[in-house]
C-alpha cells in the first residue's frame, strides 16, 4: 500500500516501520480489535507527511546547485543480491505487469478514493474499520470506494 502511494520501496518500508513503532508505543494498551484501523490511519498519515515533505524538498532542490543524486553512490545492500524463491519468471512477469497497470491506475485516482480502495479491497478492512482508518464517516467510505471501483474498472477494462 505504501509502495503504491510512494513509488519507492525504501521510503515505503520506512513509513511502515514508523507506523508500526508509533502503534506499538502509543496504542499497545488499546484492545487488539482497534489495532488494524489504527495502524492504517497512522500509515496513511505517514504517507501523506512524506508526500508533502517530498513536494517541499523538490521545490527547494530546484534552486540549489549540485543537488542531483548520483545513483552510483548508493550503498549496496547485500540482501539485494540474495535470490528469492518465488513463482516462475513468466508467471511473475504476467502478474507483475497486471499489478503494475493496477498501480498506475490507482495513482491516477484522488487520494481518498485510492485509500478507500486499498484499505477495503487489498487489506480487507470492513466499512467501519476503513472509516476509522480514514477518519471519515462510513457513508464517505462507501462513496469513495464505489467511485474508485468504477474509475478503475473503466481504466483497466481495455488492458486486463
Amino acid at each position: 500500500m505504501a509502495q503504491v502511494a510512494l513509488r519507492d520501496p525504501d521510503d515505503a518500508l520506512d513509513v511502515v516501520q514508523d507506523a508500526m513503532l508509533k502503534l506499538a508505543r502509543s496504542y499497545a494498551s488499546r484492545p487488539s480489535a482497534e489495532w488494524r484501523p489504527l495502524f492504517y490511519r497512522i500509515l496513511e498519515n505517514g504517507i501523506r507527511d512524506l508526500q508533502r515533505r517530498r513536494t517541499v524538498r523538490k521545490k527547494f532542490m530546484v534552486w540549489l546547485p549540485g543537488t542531483q543524486e548520483d545513483p552510483d553512490n548508493d550503498a549496496q545492500d547485500p540482501l539485494d543480491n540474495v535470490p528469492d524463491g518465488g513463482p516462475d519468471a513468466p508467471e511473475l512477469m504476467m502478474q507483475g505487469q497486471a499489478m503494475e497497470q493496477l498501480e498506475v491506475s490507482l495513482r491516477a485516482l484522488p487520494a481518498r478514493q485510492r485509500e478507500a480502495f486499498m484499505l477495503r479491497n487489498f487489506e480487507g478492512l470492513d466499512v467501519a474499520e476503513t472509516a476509522t482508518a480514514m477518519g471519515c464517516s462510513e457513508g464517505s467510505v462507501k462513496t469513495h470506494y464505489s467511485r474508485a471501483v468504477h474509475a478503475l474498472r473503466e481504466h483497466l477494462s481495455e488492458v486486463w
Binding site: 518500508l13 508500526m20 528469492d84 499489478m99 471501483v149 478503475l152
Partner: protein, 138 residues
C-alpha cells in the same frame, strides 16, 4: 496471507485486483521481507518497553494536560501584557451594545411596534396552519 472475501456482492474485477495484490505480496523479495520482520520485532520491543514504563512517565498521559497548561499560560500572558490595563473591551466598546439592548427592550416607538407585528404574524401563522390542516374551506 489471502483472506476470504468479505462482500458477497464483490465483483470479478474487485476479486481479481485483490488476488493480484496478494500475489504481489507473496512474491515480495527477501530483502523486503527481512526488513519488515525487523520492523515488526522493533515495534514489539517498543510495545513491551512502553508497557513496562509506569503510567506517570508515559508521554501520552501528559500531552493533553501540558497542552491545556500551555494554552492557559499563553492566554494569561497575553491578557496581562496588554498596556495600561487595556484588556480588550473598553467602556466605549461596551456602550453601543447597551444602547442596542435598550432599543430592543423599549416598548415605545419602532421596537415596540416590531414586537407587536411579530406577535400579529405569529397569530396569522397559527391561523394559517389550522386552516391548512382542516382541509379546503367549505
Amino acid at each position: 496471507m489471502k483472506e476470504p472475501m468479505q462482500d458477497t456482492g464483490q465483483s470479478a474485477f474487485e476479486a481479481r485486483s485483490r488476488e493480484l495484490f496478494h500475489d504481489s505480496v507473496d512474491a515480495m523479495d527477501m530483502r523486503m521481507r527481512s526488513r519488515l520482520t525487523q520492523a515488526r520485532h522493533a515495534a514489539l520491543d517498543a510495545a513491551a518497553a512502553a508497557k513496562r514504563r509506569p503510567w506517570f512517565l508515559r508521554i501520552g498521559t501528559w500531552t493533553p494536560a501540558a497542552g491545556v497548561t500551555a494554552a492557559v499560560l499563553l492566554g494569561a500572558a497575553l491578557w496581562f501584557s496588554l498596556p495600561g490595563g487595556n484588556h480588550g473591551l473598553t467602556a466605549a466598546d461596551s456602550q453601543p451594545s447597551l444602547e442596542d439592548l435598550d432599543i430592543v427592550a423599549s416598548s415605545d416607538e419602532g421596537a415596540g411596534d416590531a414586537i407587536e407585528m411579530l406577535q400579529n404574524d405569529l397569530d396569522f401563522y397559527d391561523f394559517s396552519d389550522k386552516a391548512s390542516n382542516s382541509g379546503p374551506a367549505a
